[in-house]
Amino acid sequence: MAAQATSVWTLEEGEVRKPGIVHIVALALFTGIGIVVGTFGSLAIPIGFVSAFWPGQAIQAVGSVWYGMWGGIAAFVFPLISNAMSGSAPLPVSLAYIPGNFVQGIAAGWVFRQFKLDPSLKTAKDWLGFTLVGILAANAFGAAWGTTVLRIFGLITPDAHLVAWVGWFLGNSVASWVLGVLLLKFISPLVVKTKAFCKGYWA
């Protein structure tokens, strides 16, 4: 089982992987999917700029697991559009979210590559890595960054910072974990066979 898991990330003998147009297409399609999922998520529970239910984080996480840095780019690009379309955050706030969104996305991609975890979640180690780093740590940072941005923009008071963080972290984590697990479990076996799948960060 361990050998099989490692093989997903290990280059075959003589295998050369370079970034190409397929990665740009994957990035664009993934961004499109993120726009829809992010917009639906924000409109489903319209609390506005505080993200109390946002399955978009699952798209960010699985995107970086499958497409490395391309998924990381999609992770901060699609919220710019989905936040605008759902009316959940204006442009300057969305721009300020970029570092938080990038980390929310790339954390899962990093842990899977660093510890050679299987994207199809086959062992307890895979589940643990995805849950602890890809969801909990990523959302803890994302929520901290997001609520700090809201505080700087004067949208929440300093005294409400912790409450907003807890709401954001819990709301995002639960929705993202459920959707993320399903996507990784059922779609990863298909994705790893495609040309767009990135064994490294860029290809």
Binding site: G20, I21, V22, I24, V25, A26, L27, A28, L29, F30, T31, G32, I33, I35, V36, V37, F40, L43, P46, I47, G48, F49, V50, V77, F78, I81, A84, M85, S86, G87, S88, A89, P90, L91, P92, V93, F153, G154, L155, I156, T157, P158, D159, A160, V163, A164, V178, L179, L182, L183, F186, I187, L190, V191, T194, K195, A196
Partner: protein, 301 residues
């Protein structure tokens, strides 16, 4: 035949253009403006309120956007989806402000229903709410009046690299394809007798999650198809042909920039810079200058 003519004529006069968030008549005067002019309204209206804390000005900006949308003949009923958001955001912001107020020394307080209210903290929330709404409505107006194609023309006019324009156009198109696929799957389920209205909220959420599997599978398959098609047509991320020459941009030839565009763009840029200078250098547009705030504080003394 006699009846067919007026019907066809009515259909012609009511021809609508589907935008990213709604529909606008093809005859809308808005389409006299170049897409790049409309794109700059997004940047201008979506950002300018960042430098304006005075709620009266932000409310005025919102009114102006609605007048602009009315002039552009935008179907306002599409904007109703944002109504719950505007209400819940207000409830959230004021609840947080009342529950966790900023309590600086010298703030004016009053008691109501046994709760202590801090006027300055409350008024700041009021000002922040209208600033947020002005920026949101400034953003929504763009998506309500423009198509993917016009966004693409705008960023190409701004000389963005080919890879960026291609990425954005495919991303926006892909969002549309994703929704189209979702509609197909839902219709197939309904055809098999699924009644979504009879499902509990939890089951509906489960169903929504389960849609993702076939939708992602379709999107992943499409990635290979599109990249193969682009490769076969000789596209490269640089947008150059094999001999190093840039591909000619046919679409831009259909959208000439006119004098009205230059006037509107210049007006927006000058206003934007003026607002920033007035705010940063002279402290104008700060919340303390709000006439309503000054009036309310005068009632205290």
């Amino acid at each position: 035949m006699d009846q067919a003519l007026p019907v066809a004529s009515t259909a012609t006069t009511r021809r609508m253009r589907k935008t990213l968030l709604g529909t606008v008549p093809v005859s809308s005067p808005l389409y006299q403006l170049h897409p790049v002019t409309r794109f700059i309204t997004l940047v201008f209206l979506g950002v300018v309120s960042l430098f304006i804390d005075v709620p009266e000005i932000n409310i005025l900006l919102i009114v102006m956007v609605f007048i602009y949308l009315h002039w552009a003949k935008v179907d306002m009923s599409n904007l109703k989806i944002y109504l719950p958001l505007t209400i819940t955001v207000a409830i959230f912001m004021f609840t947080v402000s009342i529950g966790f107020p900023s309590r600086l020394p010298g703030y004016h307080t009053f008691q109501f229903l046994g709760i202590t209210f801090y006027f300055e903290s409350l008024y700041w929330t009021f000002a922040s709410y209208w600033r947020l709404m002005a920026m949101l409505i400034g953003t929504i107006q763009y998506f309500s009046t423009n198509r993917e194609r016009e966004t693409l023309v705008a960023i190409r006019t701004l000389k963005a690299p080919f890879v960026i324009t291609y990425f954005f156009s495919l991303a926006l198109r892909s969002a549309g394809m994703f929704l189209e696929d979702m509609r197909t799957i839902r219709e197939a389920e309904r055809a098999r007798g699924l009644d979504e209205t009879s499902l509990a909220l939890r089951d509906r959420a489960k169903l929504y999650v389960m849609y993702m599997i076939p939708l992602f599978t379709l999107a992943i398959r499409r990635t290979d198809e599109i990249s193969n098609a682009l490769y076969a047509r000789g596209y490269t991320p640089s947008g150059k042909l094999e001999n190093g020459v840039h591909r000619s941009d046919y679409i831009l030839t259909k959208y000439p920039i006119r004098r009205i565009d230059i006037i509107v763009i210049s007006a927006m840029i000058i206003t934007f810079i003026t607002v920033i200078i007035l705010r940063v250098q002279f402290g104008i547009f700060a919340v303390a200058q709000s006439p309503l705030r000054i009036f309310l504080l005068s009632l205290w003394s």
